[in-house]
Symmetry: C2
Subunit: 234 residues, 2 copies
DNA sequence: CATGGTCTATTTGTTGACATCATGAATGTT
DNA sequence: AACATTCATGATGTCAACAAATAGACCATG
C-alpha cells in the first residue's frame, strides 16, 4: 500500500482561502477595476460571510502584493507602475536563475514529467485559446520549475510575487501578443531541455534569455502607451 | 516650505502590529520555547486584547516563517532543521548578492551614512555587549544594506526570511562565538568599503565571503551536536 | 472668494459570544 | 491485554455588534 498514492495532505481550508481566491480571480479577470477600493462589508455580503475571513483574506492578498492596505482607510487594488515592472523583472530573474540551477541539480523524474506536461498543455492551448489562458499556463510552467527546485523558501519568495507577475502580464497582454505567437512554445521547450540535461550553465543562459524576451517588450510598452492602442476604452 | 522635512508618513499602528512585536520578541529572547504551541486566548488575555488582533498577528508571523499554522490545530513556533539552515543560507546569498549589486549602483550618501552608522554601532557594542545584542546589530547592518538597494520587493523578500535568519543565529550563537570575536567587524567594514567604491564585482565577492563565513560554521554545527555542548538541558 | 473649522456619515478596528473541529481519556469489545 | 468506539474537553473558526477614525459636506470667517 505504499506505492504511488501521491495525495496532498487533504488540507482543509477555511473561508479565508475561499474568499482570497474569489477576490484574486475577480482582480485577474477584470471584474474589479485596478486601483479600486475594496469595501469589507460589501465583499462580505456578496460572498455571504462575515468580515473576519474577508479581513484575513485581504491580509493574504497584501502579502501577495496585489492589494495595499492603509490604517483605517481600507484595501486598494494595486496599480503597477513602470518601476514596479522593472522591480518584478529584476527580482524574478534573480529568483528564477537560482531556481533553475537548483532544479538542474535536484529535479526528479516526476518533476521533469510535470514540466513536460506543462509545456504540452501550453502548446495544446496555443491553437485555440485566448491570451488569458495562455498566460496562466505560462505561469504554471514556471510554478513547476520552482517546485522542481525543492526549496520551500524559494517557493515562498516566488509566491510573494507570483500574483503580481500574473497581473502584470495580463494587464499588458497586448504587448506580448507577437511574442506568444513566435517564441513562447520554443523557449519553454528549450527550458525543459536544458533542465533535463542538468547543465547549470546552459540553464542560466536559457532562463535569462526567456525572461529578457518576456520583459524587454513589456517595460518598453510603457514608453509608447499606457493603455492598449485599442478603440473605445469606455 | 518644501525643503528637508523627511518625516515618515506618521504611520498609525493597530493592535495587530503591537501583538506581533510582542510575540516576536518573546520568541527571540527565549521566553517562548521552540516548537511550543501558541494559545490564542492565552496570548489575548496576557496582552489584554481580544483574539482578533492576535489571530492577525499570528498570520503575520507565519508569513515571516517563525510560526506555522494548521487548520483547527493552532500556531506553533518553528524549529529550524539543518535543511532549513541550508535553505536560508542559499536564498539569503542570492538575495544579498543582488542587493549589494543594486546598492553599489544606487546607494545615496544617506544610505552610506546609515551603513557606516550600523558598522559603528556594531564595533561600539563589541567590547561590552553580549552576543544577543551583537547579532541584532549585525542583522541591522544588513537591513541597511537591503534598504540601500532601493528595491521594495527585494526588501519584502528579505523581510520574509529576516526573522528566521535572526532566530537561527540566536539559537546557534554558541557556534558563532569565535567568528564574532575575530571577523565580524572587519568584514562589515569591508562591505561598507566596497559598496562605497561602487565596484559591483568586488561587492559580490565580499558578500559571498561574508555569508560563507557566517553559515559554513553554522551548518557544520549540526554535525557535531544538535544542542549546545552545555551541561544539563532540563 | 478662499480658508479654516466642525460635524456627520461611512468605513475600518476591535470585541465577546457562538459554532465547529481535533484531541485524548474513558468505555466497551474481542 | 490490545484495539476500536464514544464522548467530554478545550481549542480554533466564524459571526454580529460596538468603538474609533477618516473623508467629505457644510458652515463660519477673513
Amino acid at each position: 500500500m505504499s506505492g504511488g498514492l501521491e495525495i496532498q495532505p487533504a488540507r482543509r481550508r477555511g473561508l479565508t482561502d475561499e474568499v482570497a481566491e474569489n477576490i484574486r480571480q475577480a482582480i485577474f479577470d477584470g471584474s474589479l477595476e485596478l486601483g479600486e477600493r475594496l469595501n469589507e462589508v460589501d465583499i462580505a455580503d456578496r460572498l455571504q460571510v462575515s468580515r473576519g475571513p474577508v479581513r484575513e483574506a485581504l491580509v493574504q492578498l497584501k502579502q501577495e502584493g496585489i492589494v495595499t492596505m492603509e490604517w483605517h482607510r481600507g484595501a486598494f487594488i494595486v496599480q503597477l507602475s513602470a518601476d514596479d515592472f522593472r522591480e518584478l523583472a529584476g527580482l524574478r530573474t534573480v529568483l528564477e536563475v537560482f531556481a533553475i540551477r537548483q532544479a538542474a541539480a535536484a529535479a526528479t523524474q516526476a518533476d521533469l514529467d510535470n514540466l513536460a506536461a506543462a509545456v504540452k498543455a501550453l502548446s495544446k492551448a496555443f491553437v485555440d485559446q485566448n491570451d488569458y489562458v495562455l498566460i496562466q499556463l505560462d505561469v504554471e510552467f514556471h510554478d513547476a520549475l520552482y517546485r522542481s527546485a525543492h526549496h520551500e523558501r524559494l517557493w515562498n519568495a516566488w509566491s510573494s510575487i507570483r500574483s503580481q507577475v500574473l497581473l502584470s502580464l495580463l494587464t499588458k497582454r497586448h504587448a506580448s501578443n507577437e511574442y506568444y505567437r513566435d517564441l513562447v512554445i520554443a523557449e519553454h521547450e528549450e527550458l525543459l531541455r536544458v533542465i533535463s540535461s542538468r547543465d547549470a550553465r546552459a540553464c542560466e543562459k536559457a532562463i535569462r534569455v526567456h525572461l529578457s524576451d518576456t520583459y524587454d517588450r513589456l517595460v518598453s510598452s510603457f514608453d509608447s502607451a499606457d493603455v492598449p492602442p485599442a478603440s473605445g476604452e469606455r
